[in-house]
């Protein structure tokens, strides 16, 4: 594929929001690369979603839950003190950490659980890495009275004990996955296997903008409430659109949610921050957009971390939520067309940002979100004080306290 010229880029921005095509393609990415055994389930899901996405009653139910159950809209908070310390752009935090269950993940699980209910499926399943998506799924399942099984890599079950217990308290069954590298990607494989076997009564709630069509589009749509609010709040509180947006990118749902409603606003620069881990040069990271190449995994074509033989390789990140070898296909496309800049933040800088925001603003971010903050520390000082930067604070850091304590040499 040839790279677009500068002139192409400008004209392309106007239809970026029109992606994907009817078969789920974002340029050469996305699609539906699944075994025939899954085609029926995906066709069925596509139909259900198509029939409900523009249905006023469904939208009203979704909006009602977001307002009264999740607590939306989430504030756009001016981190005045931190901005002054960094000595550049004004930093605004989109407070997804204040949502019920503590992250943006619940926006999507509310939407998909409503679909499950409408589709008459009594059981939901999900994959989870850090446990945030698992918790958000278990939460909505409890509320709607759905049976809930959560697949989690055995390695992550060990690393994220607190969230495992949280899910169990919520009535979910947590299944430790022992295959492959025993992490998030393997949990996703296992959830897919469950789904093909139990498709009659089961709805699979994928936790990010990855997977086969229509998941990337659907999860983006459910999370786009973040960007719609941020855009409106920006006009109200700043008096104009922001100059730049920053969000961390694991699978990419919080980033797509923030970016999507701004895609056609050419004056708004966008930065997606991948997990640099111990540094790209060490190979120990989770940055497929920065250091991977296109391939096919989990039902879509996208940038992946794989070896020369095409085998998926292990990733590393201080934050379990970014520890994934792929990335949503829409990000792959936005990278190629040059709409979004994809950068990385290494573990040490992430930890520094985590501590700094906690000290300076009294807000303890999730380690995932701290990747976005780490990049804000780089970008803000290069901007003028009358410029504005929105950082998606995708989640709160309570779940990470044990991880940080361990780094500090403290055991509870």
């Amino acid at each position: 594929m040839s790279m677009p010229t500068q002139a192409d880029k400008a004209s392309k921005f106007s239809d970026l929001a029109q992606q994907p095509d009817s078969r789920g393609h974002f340029g050469p990415y996305g699609g539906r690369f699944v075994s025939e055994t899954l085609s029926f389930a995906l066709e069925e899901l596509e139909k259900v979603y198509a029939s409900l996405r523009d249905d006023p009653e469904f939208q009203a139910d979704f909006d009602y839950d977001l307002k009264h159950y999740v607590g939306r809209p989430s504030p756009l908070y001016h981190a005045d003190r931190w901005s002054r310390e960094l000595g550049g752009a004004q930093i605004w935090l989109k407070r997804e950490d204040l949502n019920h269950t503590g992250a943006h993940k619940v926006n999507n699980t509310i939407g998909q659980a409503l679909l499950a209910k409408k589709a008459g499926k009594p059981r939901v399943i999900a994959e989870t890495g850090a446990g945030q998506h698992g918790v958000a799924t278990a939460t909505v399942a409890a509320r709607l009275g759905l049976k809930c099984d959560i697949y989690m890599g055995a390695e992550d079950v060990e690393r994220q004990k607190l969230n495992v217990y949280r899910m169990r308290l919520l009535g979910a069954n947590v299944i430790a996955v022992e295959s492959g590298s025993r992490t998030l990607k393997d949990a996703m494989n296992e959830a897919m296997r469950d789904w093909v076997t139990n498709v009659d009564d089961t709805f699979y709630i994928i936790g990010t903008v990855a997977g086969p069509h229509p998941y990337p589009e659907m999860v983006r749509d459910f999370n786009a409430v973040v960007g719609r609010e941020a855009r409106r709040q920006s006009l109200e509180q700043i008096g104009r659109l922001p100059d730049a947006l920053i969000a961390c990118v694991g699978g990419g749902s919080n980033a797509m949610g923030l970016f999507y409603p701004f895609l056609q606003d050419e004056e708004v620069a966008m930065y997606g921050v991948e997990a640099g881990g111990k540094g790209l040069e060490t190979g120990q990271h989770a940055a497929p957009l920065n250091a991977g190449q296109p391939g096919v995994l989990h039902g879509n074509r996208t940038y992946l971390m794989s070896d020369e033989g095409g085998q998926i390789i292990d990733t590393h990140s201080i934050s379990a939520g970014l520890d994934y070898p792929g990335v949503g296909p829409e990000h792959a496309w936005l990278k190629d067309v040059g709409r979004v800049n994809y950068v990385t933040a290494n573990d040490d800088k992430v930890l520094e940002a985590f501590r700094e925001l906690t000290h300076v603003e009294g807000i303890m971010p999730a380690l995932e979100s701290a990747h976005a903050l780490a990049y804000a520390k780089v970008l803000a000082p290069t901007m003028r004080t009358d410029e504005h930067l929105i950082v998606n604070l995708s989640g709160r850091g309570d779940k990470d306290i044990l991880t940080v304590a361990k780094i500090d040499g403290i055991e509870f």
């Binding site: 699944v34 393997d186 076997t197 989990h298």
Partner: protein
């Protein structure tokens, strides 16, 4: 003529059904694969399905997942799998070989390079589990001019519209997945399979082969009554797993399972 088409033509002339064993290349270690393929032919295989190991075999059950893990530990990659076919062809120029696997290793090698090597070493068909016909144009455009068939799966849940699409795109044979779920799942219902196959025949003239859930002579014979071919995977691969510590016992174990099926199907 493609070896697969030739083989089905021959079988038809003899009123026999195809027996199609599957093993994963490099399982339990790369050095044994070619020998095991010959052993399968000796015990009555008509077509061989050779699995390309993948780190994330989403459509496979635990038996074939473990086989992939055993193969990958030894560094088996797609390039080696193609070399194995090359070696096999030094002494067997007749038995059709189908490579079965997931798209990413093929995409990483490059569709052109893969197709060229397939032709060179004598691969007759390619079944990419996670590549439905809607996403297959690019790879098929490389395989078809080289006489290599693209083979597709059909599932019990496949709609008539899709069955028609698959029938149009497929070549060699159609691989009918007899049950919902992953490879290695429980037993199958032959009456239901027969009904499904009959409706499939409206969309395609290709031979219909049935896989998933065939584990012994009895189930193979029952399926052979209603299908053009019988595919057996997990039942063989679990023999490899059980004997992974006794390499010399693997070939006899595979032969025992397959000969039993052959006999039951032909009697």
């Amino acid at each position: 003529m493609n070896r697969i088409d030739q083989r089905f033509a021959d079988l038809k002339a003899q009123s026999r059904k195809a027996l199609i064993p599957y093993i994963t290349a490099g399982d339990p270690a790369p050095a044994y694969t070619v020998g095991l393929l010959h052993a399968l032919v000796e015990s009555g295989a008509d077509i061989l399905e050779l699995g390309i190991p993948f780190s994330d075999p989403m459509a496979d059950g635990p038996v074939i997942q473990k086989a992939c893990e055993r193969a990958l530990v030894h560094g088996t990659r797609l390039a080696h799998v193609l070399d194995m076919v090359d070696e096999f062809r030094q002494s067997d120029t007749q038995t059709p070989i189908v490579l079965m696997g997931y798209l990413n290793p093929i995409e990483r090698m490059g569709f052109e390079a893969f197709a060229a090597r397939c032709e060179q070493v004598g691969v007759d068909g390619v079944l990419v589990v996670d590549m439905p016909p809607e996403e297959a144009d690019e790879l098929t455009a490389c395989l078809k001019p080289r006489g290599v068939h693209t083979i597709y799966l059909v599932a019990p849940t496949t709609s008539e519209t899709r069955a028609a699409t698959i029938g149009r795109h497929g070549a060699g044979y159609l691989y009918y997945v007899s049950l919902k779920g992953v490879t290695g799942a429980a037993t199958l219902d032959v009456t239901a399979v027969e009904k499904q196959l009959n409706s499939l025949r409206r969309f395609s003239d290709l031979p219909l082969c049935v896989g998933f859930g065939i584990r012994d002579g009895q189930s193979a014979a029952a399926v052979a009554q209603v299908a053009d071919g019988v595919i057996v995977g997990s039942a063989l691969v679990s023999q490899i797993a059980d004997n992974a510590e006794h390499i010399e016992a693997i070939a006899p174990a595979l032969k025992a399972v397959l000969s039993d099926m052959r006999q039951a199907m032909d009697s």
